[in-house]
């Protein structure tokens, strides 16, 4: 499948060994030749959207201020809040979503629910020692309370992290359809419910 051509030139790094420039046309062609559909992981996934494109070009740091501001606003405007106004689900189900690392891989069953895989990068419940460190520790997150701004802020981070932190490493769980609205509510409860293990001392 032909990937959409992008405008602009991608500047390769300044390492002296590199020849310097890989054109976006060449990159598209190479990607197209190097990958094959593998179950649900199809080649069209390699086509970048504006966020991926901006954060790729700039090597994981936000692009220029004007682009960053407009992209962030675009993401913020596109956040969909819970239809019933209720942000908090069941923290026990949320704990399962946080623990589940499956979903959307070629090796995963598309009929099973996707996981959030939160523990891959974050510390959450203090009794779970197998947590990653790519993201900040969220242990005790519920101490921030459940005010309306706090609920909306947390929901937005989960829905589309780029609305606040453009080029964050974190997936866009709502915007990309990785998790359902109900799963996001359950994660919200896991983070914010005072009874959740996230908010208990060991």
């Amino acid at each position: 499948m032909r990937l959409m051509l992008r405008t602009g030139v991608l500047l390769a790094g300044a390492l002296t060994l590199s020849s310097g420039v890989v054109s976006s046309e060449r990159l598209d062609t190479v990607l197209e030749r190097s990958f094959v559909d593998n179950g649900q992981a199809t080649v069209d996934r390699l086509q970048q959207d504006p966020v991926q494109q901006a954060c790729h070009h700039s090597r994981s740091t936000p692009p220029d201020a004007a682009t960053a501001t407009s992209l962030r606003q675009e993401r913020l405007d596109a956040v969909i809040f819970p239809a019933d106004g209720d942000f908090l689900g069941d923290w026990q189900r949320g704990a399962e979503v946080a623990d589940n690392g499956r979903g959307l891989q070629s090796s995963d069953d598309p009929a099973q629910p996707n996981g959030g895989n939160c523990y891959a990068c974050h510390q959450l419940a203090p009794d779970e020692v197998a947590y990653g460190t790519l993201g900040p520790s969220l242990t005790g997150y519920g101490a921030r309370g459940q005010s309306e701004p706090m609920l909306r802020y947390t929901w937005t981070k989960l829905w589309d992290t780029h609305a606040y932190n453009l080029c964050s490493h974190m997936p866009r769980f709502g915007a990309q359809g990785i998790l359902t609205e109900q799963q996001l509510k359950d994660i919200m409860a896991f983070l914010l419910d005072p009874a959740s293990p996230v908010n208990q001392d060991l």
Binding site: S18, S19, F35, D37, N38, H56, R59, G132
Partner: protein, 262 residues
Amino acid sequence: MIKKWAWLIGILAMPALSDDGIFDEYRDLMGDDNPAIFVIDEGEALWFEPQGPRSASLEGCDLGLGRGVTAGAYARFPRYFEDTDTVMDIESRLLHCMQQLQGRDRDTLLAKPYSLRGDMGTELEALVTWLAAESEGAVIAPEQVHPAERAMYALGEEVFFYRAGPHDFSCATCHEQSDMRIRLQALPNLTEHQDAAETFGSWPAYRISEGLVRTMGWRLQDCFRQQRWPGLKLGSEVSVALQTYMAVNAAGGVMTAPGLKR
């Protein structure tokens, strides 16, 4: 052989207090005892075994240092080959030799290059393991002379940072920061020399959790599976480019493979 090591899975599944510490200790305890030694022997036997319609061995294969020269060859990959006019990794070079010298069919060879869980290893895995052992202690020194080799590095660097897929993952998501881990697994920073050298130099590796030796080509395929990307073709430009990116960042380090990994 696999059963003999199965108990290790239990040990490794135990919660560790921090990063790779407990696994490093375990690796030290193992010393030179790596089950990959059996795979090395198997690979050596396969190199000298006449096979295919032409009933030829691989002794006539040129891995870049001349026909039949295996010592130190792995440490110079990926590299440009005039006869194919492409930059190749060691896996695609071996496939090339199997076709050219032994007259074997490419599609058959590519049907199952890597083991599935529970398998006992493939011919390609065994050959790569032996050839890596033939470079043990050698300095990692990929060729960067031919323009195609330099272009491959630039391409690898570009692909390394390419974000795509439903999770927006690139290689860099996990491998551009130092001293990070995913769950308990330590993540090498592949943009930095020291980590790149330790990582590149220790593949292929015996994976205790799978009871198999895995190659760098397999490692990349499995990274992309976890990135939620489609299937990476063996010997494809992206595969060779990323191996070139890692090898050049690792240059000057020492080959320690076959490694021993979780």
